[in-house]
Every structure is written in structure tokens, then in C-alpha cells.
């Protein structure tokens, strides 16, 4: 695909002898939300963790194939440089408990020793919190600890923290699975708005969420990419029988 931000070519991943991903081919165009769905244990989380190389934290992992971020090979880049370009939001909200809301947002700068003037930091904090739709709720408490926020607010704080680094891709690893329905719908709306700034890769086991939020959907089953295409098309006329069965709730 032309102009794709992320290209995955014949990508396989192994945990020890166990092959988790089989020859995945995928390309994600700019400024879209691409959903990865599939039953639990299918390898979708492993796939996005391979995108920012977080899987390397686990012992005994191995990959084959290639991945490109804007035509640059991800596996020849330094992980710490790569991870500043690819933000990640996790299943459980994980703001830094020792830091204030303000410091949480600029944690990527502070912890990496990237210097900015106070004014620039103020701007980054305000813009990131606005993008994460959290500014109005926290603007008077910026110097309180982030852990006093509600779960949904904490998750939006984590999104703001990732956005503050101006990433090219935002990886979302089941970002709403620990949240209540109201926070979930707020965050889903947020993703649709964020498309203008950043490309998102959303892992979800919630079929409805993939349908509501994403432009492209990939269905992964037992480590294989079964089907990938525009969400609308896949949800109305799936090409593969397994996709159809999954969408109609026959398994998963």
C-alpha cells in the first residue's frame, strides 16, 4: 500500500519453540485507526508489542520477517529511539504514581532528559491533555498526583503522556478493557478525533469496538492473519468463513 506508516512483511514471532505469529503481512495507512481483533491468545497483543519491540523484554523471544515504520526497518533501529516514535497505551491505566499529572504528561521528556523551556512544557502539557480530552477536568489540579484520578481519567492521562511525544503511531493494547462503559465510550470517541494527528493500532477483543472505531480491521486467529481490509467491508461481507463465524459469535 502506498503511503503506509506501518508495513509488516512475512512477520513471525516465537516464544521459545512455540510460534505465536505466522507470516503476517499488513500495512497501515496514515491517519487511520486499524483494529486487530481475534479471540484471546490469538497473538494480537504479541503483534503490536513487536511493533515497538516491547516483546524483547520477555526472555527467549525471536522474530522473523520485517517491519517498517515509514519505510525504515524497525528492527535496525535502536529500541529507545523507536519507542519515542511509537507510543503505547496499556490495558491497565499506568500513570507514574510518584509524579503529578503535569509531570506524567511530560514524563517522556523528563525521563529521557530532553530539555524544553518551561513555556514549551506548559504548551505540551495543555495540548496533550486537550487532545486526550482531559484538560477541562484536570486543569486546576495539574500538580496533584495522577493516581487520584478515576480509571477512565487515568487512561486518558496515559494517552496524553503518549501523545506528548508526538508519536507517529499509537499502539492501543485493549485500552478500555479495564474501564466502565461510560469511560469506554469517551475514549472511543477520543480515538476517532485523534485520527487527524496520529495513526492508531487498536487491539481489541470487543467486536463492537472494532466496528465503532476503526477504519481497517485485521482478524487474527491462531497466530495467522485471516483477513484484513476496510472495516465496513469486513463486517458486511467477510471473505473468509472463519471471519464470518467469529463476527457472528460462533467462536471466540
Amino acid at each position: 500500500m502506498e503511503n503506509s506508516v506501518l508495513t509488516v512483511e512475512r512477520f513471525s514471532a516465537y516464544f521459545g519453540d512455540h510460534q505465536v505469529l505466522h507470516d503476517i503481512d499488513l500495512s497501515v495507512p496514515k491517519n487511520v485507526v486499524a483494529a486487530l481483533m481475534g479471540p484471546s491468545g490469538c497473538g494480537k497483543t504479541t503483534l503490536i508489542r513487536c511493533v515497538n519491540r516491547m516483546h524483547e523484554l520477555l526472555p527467549d523471544t525471536k522474530v522473523a520477517g520485517r517491519m517498517f515504520l515509514n519505510e525504515k526497518d524497525i528492527y535496525t533501529m535502536e529500541p529507545i529511539v523507536l519507542r519515542r516514535k511509537i507510543g503505547m497505551v496499556f490495558q491497565k491505566p499506568n500513570p507514574f504514581p510518584t509524579m503529578s499529572i503535569y509531570d506524567n504528561v511530560i514524563a517522556g521528556y523528563k525521563l529521557n532528559g530532553i530539555r524544553r523551556s518551561r513555556e514549551e512544557f506548559n504548551n505540551i502539557v495543555e495540548q496533550s491533555l486537550r487532545s486526550a480530552a482531559l484538560w477541562d477536568e484536570v486543569k486546576d489540579y495539574l500538580h496533584r498526583k495522577g493516581t487520584f484520578l478515576s480509571g477512565g481519567q487515568q487512561q486518558r492521562l496515559c494517552i496524553a503522556r503518549a501523545l506528548a511525544m508526538n508519536p507517529e503511531i499509537l499502539l492501543l493494547d485493549e485500552p478500555t478493557s479495564a474501564l466502565d462503559p461510560k469511560s469506554t465510550s469517551q475514549i472511543e470517541e477520543l480515538f476517532v478525533e485523534l485520527k487527524n494527528n496520529v495513526t492508531m493500532l487498536l487491539v481489541t477483543h470487543n467486536i463492537g469496538q472494532a466496528a465503532r472505531v476503526s477504519d481497517f480491521t485485521a482478524f487474527i486467529y491462531l497466530g495467522e492473519l485471516i483477513e484484513y481490509g476496510p472495516t465496513e467491508k469486513m463486517f458486511t461481507v467477510p471473505k473468509d468463513k472463519r471471519t464470518e463465524e467469529y463476527l457472528t459469535g460462533k467462536f471466540g
Binding site: 516491547m54 523507536l82 507514574f96 504514581p97 514524563a107 529521557n112 532528559g113 493516581t147 496515559c158
Partner: protein
């Protein structure tokens, strides 16, 4: 049937009563120690006792000023030696829960904790006193730091293990290098636990006498030089208590009182730190 139930209820009461009684009895020694030390010691405490040096045999009066300063210097020295090693080892163990080196270190820490303090004194003698040809505060600090080490290593490991893994992930996913993640995210999150461990280990070594007998040795004089023998509260208690003079016996009580108050203070501060500074995840 009725009788059966009544019997059981009676047994229940007896059991509960026994537990309470034994719990109280086990408290008694501590209460008695505190009572005796306070009763005999507090009357000795005054400005002269705190601020004067020990006097030679035959002169009346004298105090424990050099012993208090000596104990503080010894604590400071042992903290300087043990805290960096202890925290580093604790980080290593928390980060490598499996693996040969980790298990070996864990085993060593347990063995070290069970090593008699007099043996640790001998080791410090061999390592520091013998090569330098003099008893010294330095050697005392080394001996005490070896005693502190296991507590610091263990509490650091336990504290860091309780910090959720997702915090580390959050930091690494921002492109923060591993060492900065540990130093700036993980360690600060576990600060209260680590500090508590350090304070408890300080409380533990404050009263140690055996490892100081042939390292810090003890001294009649005020000494700020860490390469010279130095006095300490436990040693001063030992010295005063072993003397044949009744006045010195009361001094031993006074010094004991100071030592107990000091140890108690460290314990209470540790408790305060662990509650007040606790980080909510």
C-alpha cells in the same frame, strides 16, 4: 446435643483466654526491660552526662558524649558502605527472580543474616584492622555494614517486587532507557519500603557490641578520625557495667537508656515512613 454445644463454647473461651494470656506474657520481658532501663537510667541523664567525656578511674563524674558521637559516626559509615551495595543487590534480585547468580546471592544473604556477629567482627578485623595495623572506626563501620546488608537487600528486593510490572512497561514504552527506568521510576516508587528497610537495619546495628570489640575497639577520648579507635554506646555500656564502681554502674544504665531510646526512635521513624510515604499504585 445441648451439652455438646456448651462444651465446645467453653473450650472456645479457654482457647481464646490462653492465647491472650500467652500474648501478654510474651510482652512482659519487653515491658520489664523498658521499665528497668527507664527507672535506673533516666535519673542519670542530664546535660553533664550527655556532653562530657568519660573520666579516668578515680575521678567522679564523666559522661558518654564521645560514645554518642562514635555511634553516630559508625552508623553513618556503615550506611555509606551498605546502602549502595544493598540497594544494587536488591535491584538485581528483583529484576532477576530466576537464574543461578540470583539464587546464589539470595542464599548468601540468608547465610549472612544468620552469621554470628562476632564472626563478622573477626572478618572485619582480618580485612581492615590487620592491614591498617590499627583498630579504627572504619573497621567498625565495615563490620556493621556487613550486618546491615542482608536486611537492606531483602527489603529492597521485596519492595521492588511489589511494584506493578506495568509501571516499568509504561516507562520503557516511552523510550526511556532501562537504567533510567529503574533509577527514576521504579526506585522512587519503592522509596518508602527501601527507606524503612534501611532504618530497621540501622536500628538493628545501633546496639551491636560484638562486632565492635576488635574493630572500633572503644576509646576514652573524643575522636573524629575514622582511622583511629572510636567509642560507641554499646561498648561504653559494656565498659561501665564491667567496672567495680557503683557510679559507673549507674552510668551504664544511663547509656542503656539512651541506646534504647535511639533504637526505639529508629523503629518508630521506620514505621512512620512506611505509612506516610506509601505510594498508591
Amino acid at each position: 446435643m445441648e451439652d455438646h454445644v456448651r462444651m465446645r463454647l467453653i473450650k472456645n473461651h479457654i482457647f481464646k483466654g490462653t492465647v491472650v494470656l500467652f500474648a501478654f506474657i510474651s510482652l512482659l520481658p519487653l515491658l520489664l526491660i523498658l521499665y528497668y532501663i527507664t527507672k535506673n537510667g533516666i535519673s542519670v541523664i542530664n546535660w553533664d552526662f550527655l556532653m562530657n567525656l568519660p573520666r579516668p578511674i578515680g575521678e567522679t563524674g564523666g559522661g558518654v558524649f564521645n560514645a554518642i558521637i562514635g555511634t553516630i559516626i559508625l552508623i553513618a559509615l556503615s550506611c555509606v558502605f551498605s546502602i549502595p551495595f544493598g540497594i544494587a543487590a536488591g535491584i538485581y534480585l528483583a529484576e532477576n527472580s530466576v537464574g543461578k547468580l540470583g539464587n546464589l546471592v539470595r542464599l548468601c544473604v540468608i547465610v549472612l543474616q544468620g552469621t554470628p556477629s562476632i564472626v563478622i567482627g573477626i572478618i572485619a578485623y582480618l580485612w581492615v584492622v590487620a592491614p591498617l595495623h590499627t583498630f579504627s572506626a572504619l573497621s567498625g563501620g565495615v563490620a556493621l555494614s556487613i550486618m546491615m546488608l542482608p536486611v537492606i537487600v531483602k527489603t529492597t528486593e521485596e519492595t521492588l517486587k511489589l511494584i506493578p510490572y506495568h509501571l516499568k512497561e509504561a516507562s520503557l514504552a516511552l523510550g526511556v532507557p532501562y537504567y533510567k527506568t529503574i533509577l527514576k521510576v521504579i526506585l522512587p516508587s519503592g522509596l518508602s519500603g527501601i527507606l524503612t528497610g534501611i532504618l530497621l537495619s540501622v536500628a538493628r546495628i545501633t546496639g551491636e557490641t560484638a562486632p565492635l570489640l576488635f574493630t572500633a575497639f572503644g576509646s576514652q577520648f573524643m575522636n573524629w578520625n575514622i582511622f583511629k579507635p572510636i567509642d560507641s554506646l554499646p561498648y561504653r555500656i559494656f565498659y561501665y557495667a564491667m567496672s567495680p564502681y557503683p557510679e559507673w554502674h549507674t552510668f551504664a544504665w544511663g547509656a542503656s537508656f539512651i541506646l534504647v531510646v535511639l533504637t526505639l526512635a529508629f523503629n518508630l521513624i521506620a514505621r512512620g515512613v512506611s505509612i506516610k510515604w506509601k505510594i498508591q499504585f
